[in-house]
Symmetry: C2
Subunit: 163 residues, 2 copies
């Protein structure tokens, strides 16, 4: 398990030994509805998911059960494209598939839930299941830095009442 603490919250990243999965939790000063919007509204999503020093462009975004999505990130002059479909989009739960197009046959299934902790705080859980331990471990290092930076951006948008 890796735990990263920053000024606004703690991102816990767990890679269990018995399942090819990555479990993340992160608390936010937000309501479940705000976190749902941050994950489904394309204009909001690009403003935090890129993280600092990256830009994100939505190519396609249809955030409803049965919809699909694709975005292209740019970091240090390199482009990285990602795509998938929205299996479930509910206020308390989003399930999507996720492929990095650099590994076109690799795919993971990712579930996000938003748990109201009271006092204006919500716990985001993200559970990703991979097809193999190798695929999971390959994702783990890049996910850690990328997601932690993205969540700091999301904290900033929330603090500025922009969600």
């Amino acid at each position: 398990m890796t735990t990263t603490t920053n000024s606004d919250g703690t991102t816990t990243i767990d890679a269990p030994g018995d399942l090819p999965a990555i479990r993340m939790t992160r608390e936010f000063a937000a309501s479940p509805a705000q976190l749902f919007r941050a994950h489904t509204d394309a204009d909001l999503f690009v403003r935090w998911m890129g993280g600092e020093g990256s830009t994100l462009q939505i190519d396609h975004w249809d955030a409803r059960t049965g919809g699909s999505w694709r975005y292209v990130g740019e970091h240090g002059g390199e482009e990285y494209a990602f795509r998938g479909c929205f299996h479930t989009v509910r206020e308390d739960r989003i399930v999507w598939t996720f492929t990095f197009e650099g590994i076109p046959d690799g795919v993971c299934l990712e579930t996000f839930t938003f748990e109201d902790l009271g006092n204006g705080r919500t716990l985001l859980r993200s559970d990703s299941t991979y097809e193999s331990f190798e695929a999971r471990d390959a994702m783990l290092s890049s996910m850690e830095s990328g997601v932690t930076a993205a969540y700091v951006q999301l904290d900033r948008l929330l603090a500025a009442d922009q969600i």
Copy 2:
């Protein structure tokens, strides 16, 4: 590992100990293109997937990358609905998500590939990844009988030149 032999082919079903997955292989007297059509053409799909003694009704079917699907099966007077999205639809590979609506938050990621063996035969591989070993094991017994019966129906359609 479970191996079921029938008059037309052998269905091999493997539930590995180290991954929450089900791996199936089945040989058909068919081309890869025929197996692709059997899995993507709604009118063909309902004619074999139901298996004998079942009927299947397509509620929604959009077999392209980023599309989605839903069907309702009837067996012994009971209805069972299933839904998901098509993550990838390519001639050699289909990846979809799969939910039995009786367990609405359960979802698996399933990949089908069609490998040309020559002499008019093709190997179908189906790899399903579940979120837990419990979910995988719950699916295993019902999958075994259902899929084996469905593949016998598919053999019949192929033998009758209907695909």
